[in-house]
Amino acid sequence: MTSFILTRSFQSIIVLFVMSLIVFAGVNLVGDPVDMLINPEADQMEIDRVIRELGLDRPVSEQYWYFVVNAFQGDLGRSFIFGEPALKLIIQRMPATMELALFSLFMAVVFGIPLGVYAGLKPESKVSRTIMAGSILGFSMPTFWVGIILIMFFSVSLGWLPSTGRGEVATYFGVTSSIFTLDGLSHLFLPAFNLALFKLSSVIRLARAGTREVILQDYIKFARAKGVSETRVVRVHVLKNIMIPVVTIIGLEFGSLIAFSTVTETVFAWPGMGKLIIDSIYNLDRPIIVAYLMIIVVIFVTLNLIVDILYSVLDPRVRIKGVS
């Protein structure tokens, strides 16, 4: 197990290294780095000063070295707009995004797995057909448009839930989140549901496909032949087998939830890092863009690693191989 984690960690570091090269190349080689990294409103003297400061007059390899060294020290540049370190700005907004993404993931899993398993167990029933039709719709509806519909319906027409911003937060057990207050939850619900909808569809499809495949296996029939109740067959035998692909995908999808939160956060004016990156792209605030990309890369690589480890915990076949 340890050697398995070590190998995978090593691979992750390589991916991280490659991605840092790409981001660096994207920002420093494709565009004009002066354009990219220096406030467009700066005068010539300022520009010359920053060029020296950033080492843009040095060779590319040296520049990359400084980029990496600075990144390791947590320095990914300063925002033009806010005048503060980019990393700090992003980290400030990260809890809001994480809260949104985690809550969405929670919703997608809590609703998606039972619906998908049901649709897989009774593929011909009316309810299942409705579930699947709904999932194609959920899959096809662009996130931003669903957000608009939700706002129109629940906020503008019915006036039930607020449509913008994050509500009151409270801190329990060292975690600050809006799920601990009623106001916070009411603000969280619509954007989280919006973000969850797309993932909900893929969780349903995945759970359904997995169930349909597992249910045909001999070991399910054998479990029934043992006289095990249908409930146990589904909850233990089916569920445990479909959890492997579902957990893998959910883990990987968590990254895409963070990516898609850019859209949801913009629609619902949610003060997270997704909204910050969109605003920064508008404002050409490039240090923030670079910092955001590097953070996202780290998140993705870490997620992939966690998923691989979880996968091996869930599937004894993989785990045993890792040991020997």
Partner: protein, 302 residues
């Protein structure tokens, strides 16, 4: 359960196209979706003749008619079936012209991505070696990042505009085609007919293009339909965020974005109707793609 099981009374296999259609039409939903899709395509292609007015002809647009609810009539007696937007444009016409832009961008980017991806995927499978390793590694890494993020990165680096949006969509999509093309080409590569082509000393290009590629088309078509729907949705998202197409090329996403500002005052139609048009387009393409995928999936064939 029985190998001699013979389901059709006559043993003549139906011709390719006929068989294709009889398989496809097994799902009524898919047939309806296909009809809807062709209708949308027709409307988009012949927008100038189909739409009630030209929404971008400044002489026919009157700011006095702005934000009229659906079904209103102006002083000149024109009826606005789906209402008007903030500038007094007929929504129905704007949607029809918007469809044209959305479908155009989606189809163009999908087509170029298909060619690019298939070229990389087929060559990777055929030649193997270092080219295969490197190109497929790139594909893997790219596919592990969500498409919206890739598109945002590209647009953040290059800036916005029609050709940049198309380029972003191509760069986002090519990897899906490359992976699908390689996967099926790997299977085809080792079949006897390719060996036979080698024995005839045919050139690499000839073998790839006229022997391997035609047999890899089925999965590519499936990926193509689903990806086109995805590209249309992605373009709409980017345009809604104001990072995709410019105001001069108003796609459905941009129309929805414009309407978003009016929604809080209750003028729902400006945002909702373009969204419905977008949704119908994407759903119909997805349903067709789903049916194609089921048809070509050997595991589901009984």
């Amino acid at each position: 359960m029985n190998k001699t099981l013979n389901t059709s009374p006559d043993n003549t296999p139906p011709s390719g196209l006929k068989k294709f259609w009889s398989d496809f039409s097994e799902s009524t939903t898919a047939v309806v979706a296909l009809i809807i899709f062709f209708t949308i395509l027709f409307i988009a292609l012949f927008a100038p003749w189909v739409s009630p007015s030209d929404p971008y002809d400044l002489t026919s647009v009157d700011i006095m008619n702005s934000r009229l609810p659906p079904g209103s009539e102006d002083f000149a007696g024109n009826i606005y079936l789906l209402g008007t937007d903030g500038a007094g444009r007929d929504m129905l016409s704007a949607i029809i012209y918007g469809l044209r832009v959305s479908l155009g961008v989606g189809a163009l980017s999908g087509f170029v991505a298909l060619i690019l991806g298939a070229a990389v995927g087929l060559s990777a499978a055929y030649f193997g070696g270092r080219f295969e390793t490197i190109s497929m590694r790139i594909v893997d890494i790219q596919l592990s990042f969500p498409s919206i993020l890739m598109a945002l990165i590209i647009l953040a680096a290059f800036g916005k505009g029609v050709e940049k949006t198309v380029i972003a969509l191509i760069l986002v999509q090519w990897a899906y085609y490359a992976r699908a093309a390689r996967a099926s080409a790997l299977v085809e590569k080792n079949k006897e007919y390719v060996e036979a082509a080698h024995c005839l000393a045919l050139g690499h290009r000839r073998i790839i293009l006229s022997h391997i590629m035609p047999n890899c088309m089925a999965p590519l078509i499936v990926v193509g339909t689903l990806q086109t729907a995805h590209a249309i949705s992605l373009e709409a998202t980017l345009s809604f965020l104001g990072l995709g197409l410019p105001i001069t090329e108003p796609s459905l996403g941009l129309l929805i974005g414009n309407g978003f500002d009016y929604m809080y005052s209750g003028d729902f139609w400006i945002s909702i109707f373009p969204g419905v048009a977008l949704l119908i387009t994407i759903v119909s393409i997805n349903l067709v793609g789903d049916q194609l995928r089921d048809m070509f999936n050997p595991r589901l064939q009984k």
